[in-house]
Assembly symmetry: D2
Homo-oligomer: 333 residues x 4
Amino acid sequence: MSVRVGIVGVGNIGEDHAHRLAERTRGAEVAAIADVDAARAEAVARAVGAQACPTDLLVGRDDVDAVVVTTTGAHHEPYVLAAIAARKPVFCEKPLATTVDACQRIVAAEAATGRRLVQVGFMRRFDPDYLAVRRAIADGRIGRPLVVHCVHRNAASGPGLTSASIVLDSAVHEIDQVRWLLGEEVAAARVLAPRPTPRVEPGVQDPMVVVLEMASGAMVLDELFVNAGYGYDVRCEVVGETGAVALPDPGAVVVRKNGHRGRAVPPDWRERFRAAYDAELQAWVDAVAAGQGGTGPTAHDGLAATAVAEACIRALESGQRAPVRLPFAGTSV
Amino acid sequence: MSVRVGIVGVGNIGEDHAHRLAERTRGAEVAAIADVDAARAEAVARAVGAQACPTDLLVGRDDVDAVVVTTTGAHHEPYVLAAIAARKPVFCEKPLATTVDACQRIVAAEAATGRRLVQVGFMRRFDPDYLAVRRAIADGRIGRPLVVHCVHRNAASGPGLTSASIVLDSAVHEIDQVRWLLGEEVAAARVLAPRPTPRVEPGVQDPMVVVLEMASGAMVLDELFVNAGYGYDVRCEVVGETGAVALPDPGAVVVRKNGHRGRAVPPDWRERFRAAYDAELQAWVDAVAAGQGGTGPTAHDGLAATAVAEACIRALESGQRAPVRLPFAGTSV
Amino acid sequence: MSVRVGIVGVGNIGEDHAHRLAERTRGAEVAAIADVDAARAEAVARAVGAQACPTDLLVGRDDVDAVVVTTTGAHHEPYVLAAIAARKPVFCEKPLATTVDACQRIVAAEAATGRRLVQVGFMRRFDPDYLAVRRAIADGRIGRPLVVHCVHRNAASGPGLTSASIVLDSAVHEIDQVRWLLGEEVAAARVLAPRPTPRVEPGVQDPMVVVLEMASGAMVLDELFVNAGYGYDVRCEVVGETGAVALPDPGAVVVRKNGHRGRAVPPDWRERFRAAYDAELQAWVDAVAAGQGGTGPTAHDGLAATAVAEACIRALESGQRAPVRLPFAGTSV
Amino acid sequence: MSVRVGIVGVGNIGEDHAHRLAERTRGAEVAAIADVDAARAEAVARAVGAQACPTDLLVGRDDVDAVVVTTTGAHHEPYVLAAIAARKPVFCEKPLATTVDACQRIVAAEAATGRRLVQVGFMRRFDPDYLAVRRAIADGRIGRPLVVHCVHRNAASGPGLTSASIVLDSAVHEIDQVRWLLGEEVAAARVLAPRPTPRVEPGVQDPMVVVLEMASGAMVLDELFVNAGYGYDVRCEVVGETGAVALPDPGAVVVRKNGHRGRAVPPDWRERFRAAYDAELQAWVDAVAAGQGGTGPTAHDGLAATAVAEACIRALESGQRAPVRLPFAGTSV
């Protein structure tokens, strides 16, 4: 009766999801795990009571009802397409794919099946605080949104950081989030470039400020700083015509000691968004068990986010405002 | 493979747990539901896909592997004893029983089986914030505790409120909590009696201040106010020799509007402790599935808490300090 | 045209007031300074452009229009009486005197002159936050008060600390404060005695919890801990029939660094109450310049506070509830 | 011995300063008041015990030692120049003047006297919180600054609002502030234009986002929204290479009531910056009394701020990045 999940890619987030599905998600079990690093697949599979298998065999296994794709973003497409071809529901981490073309191929393939099969891993849509911000806007408590301030800081980046990866891996969260919070598309992007931190390689723009113009004219300012040093810190304030609503700082216990009153800042996204990830995968498993192929962010949302990210990268390279080239008409949020 | 749970008593918390076990707990299903109000049992059973049955038949059912007792406190004992007699794990809401004698009978019955079968519903031990307070103390960050401030406020009480019920239903949470946080027994109790709110019947002491002396000499001040009007608000600060640690206020989104900056206060315990209840019952189900009969607060903890509550009630009636009559030797926390 | 002030006693607070009057108070100048330590008087006098003189000559000087008494509490009386005898306005630090008898002699002497001449240094009445708490109560925003929680922590005490001095020097602040906030007298006191911190001499009760019963039945819980280690921390929450109002934590800048988000806690009362002290002495000087002899807390308030402090000391010694013996009839707040 | 002050212009801030100097500033008295509205000059003069006089006679009066210029920004220049010509110290509200040319004439005139005579009303430099932010940067606690986030919101604007006036009257505060906090000049400006609030006349850009590039490459994002509706709200966070420091929210008392926990937001700058204005004018009067002609922000600072504001206005009109044309070489902060 459980949904038997196969996971391809068990880096940080993949391993995290493997334990989540095997230990904390109702109605799921992890059947198989694949990774380009076979030893890693083996180790994680052993830890969660699953079988390891080659990456190209995972989707087709009989004991795999649904697929989680947690490879690096540039390698999502083939596994997502294989799952669609096999008519198996697929949960794909963000970004759906790193190019608009790849996203379009996924959207088209899913559409051809006549049913929903894809859910994209924009977990903030499942976070209680983000949901409360959205509700406050929808209830009209702040009037129509005019300006949105976002902050997205990590303590330190991993190896291979590029300016484009900051957009595709980090900013993509805020891109989806503001589409979802405001219920409208992004029309254009700019990237402002402060002096970079000396902690990054020359040529990497960290921090950067992404400026998004929404279709309504509302403006989003998104500071991305993946080597901020002190911890993981994401914030969002939406300023409307009559008021403003903001995420709270995470509510850690308050310690008074040695002339200071302080709290811990979460070290990373794992801790900050643990409840959101739990809710996200539970919702996916529940939807799959109910035959719905997924819930929340769609392949179309993944496509829209990558289209905006592409505009950000063009804006970063040109130093100019870049219109978003949405490969579809109208608003889809 | 799932743990099949029978629930006896589906008032507020019982109904809440029924949905939790049926919808959000991994490895559990709700098989049967009983209540003195048969129509209510029927309705809740239907909502969660279980069968309704008479209260006296629930524990013995073949399709019930484990029992949740969520009747009113005065009616816990027979069901808990029945479960023990049937060698079925039993999760019993707090207080374990409303008299020390009843608690002792439960402890003795469980002991006679030679194994653990009882877990008591002190859910705060599973709340991330309370766990962080405990860690801060255990880590030595504030030195040895000297004073603990607790606040326990509800918006409004239900019908039938008495001073004793405030102790047994509300203060019992802080009683268990300080035993667990400080790792020691309560030695004596006093109750201070401010002018009562006009919202209660004459003779009911609401608010009241329970003062607990711990075995080490540390002192606990616990304000209980179950008709505080504005919402549900529980707090705890532990003051040690070199610092202090406190629970945070719950982290709701911040709305700025009409000259004010504000947040919602949780309306009740359901919302405030939802994550704690989820974790508590998940841990119970996991323990039961692993053949352990429960985890966290034991029947012994339930007995100790009721013994302290009894001292509080004596103190309230006499206006004097009342020593706790622990029906066992030594510290058991 | 300036009020020429003479200051007797230039320990910590006296020296602070000397600079305040000489540098930040409009319409004041410091004419003369006396201290039992003549060298200290000389040094402070030089720093503020005043003349040093013997303590017994200060009040009578022709160039002294008004007197500030900042000797230790046990030595306030003779200087206050001398000022009254000379018909000179006198600002006396708290407590007005350390015995009820001494306070009564001051009240009687002032009354005999037919005019107001005394202001007592309960500076919290001039603090913007305490004033806002009082306004919230007076506006009916929380209904009638039922419970008041106070905390009064210092980083460390000076030499010569006794349990009685904690009451007379520290608790006396909350005693006056709750009389003023609630507009009623204190009827009785108790003192609860947690295990003392090892930082104090044997026999000194630090921390202690003073419990005050107000005439209306409202109850005050006041934790005093003068060796709390981490800093200076005073708090107050008033819980009423329909809501609660609390002082904010002092609003220091927020630093995020090394996995923490923190703020400085004020090291002492100087920093925490600087604005209150400034306002208090400005109000006194303005009143004196206007021929009013003082404003805010009267000799009568000083007497009432010492009467309550005396009850606290009796309660501490007896371990029992001690009624306050107010040497006057009715409420005077 | 008091500094006798003449005030020209008693609109909102001028009247506020009149009372401040007459009632709360040590060593000052208000001798004379002028305004284009003679009746208003008369009324304010009466309220503070000064004489009213025509605007063109105020600076030259024998009983005026020092001048406060609080006319509207476009009318500062003649009074400041007159004061300089008369060798009288002059405190001029911000902006020093509304054009760079006018500012240069003032700087040149002051320079020709061979001494300092001008102080500009950038009061944030005297606010304890801003001072603490500056100290945290200077102490190296956050590393070298990379990004600065500012918010500057008013409840509602007065009549005659234009996009340029938002820059000159509001943004000019952040312009001076970041020069002072970071100790460097602004190199270029951009203005981002979200959809305006419907509360303003067509063509007025409210809210707007001013982006400043500092000489070091650090970037400032300043949201200005003078019709934000809910209150007065200014914020600042400086993000450095290793940490971040932010202003606290103002520390108003916390009221819990009706399911909410809230605080008042200051209605306007008067309340938010009262302590800063008091300190600013006290420092000016003290400096004047000491023969120094002023302290803190100089005419040169006023000139630099207006030069940046001019770049912002060019940027707003062109939609492009506008380099700041500093009419002097090097950094002067």
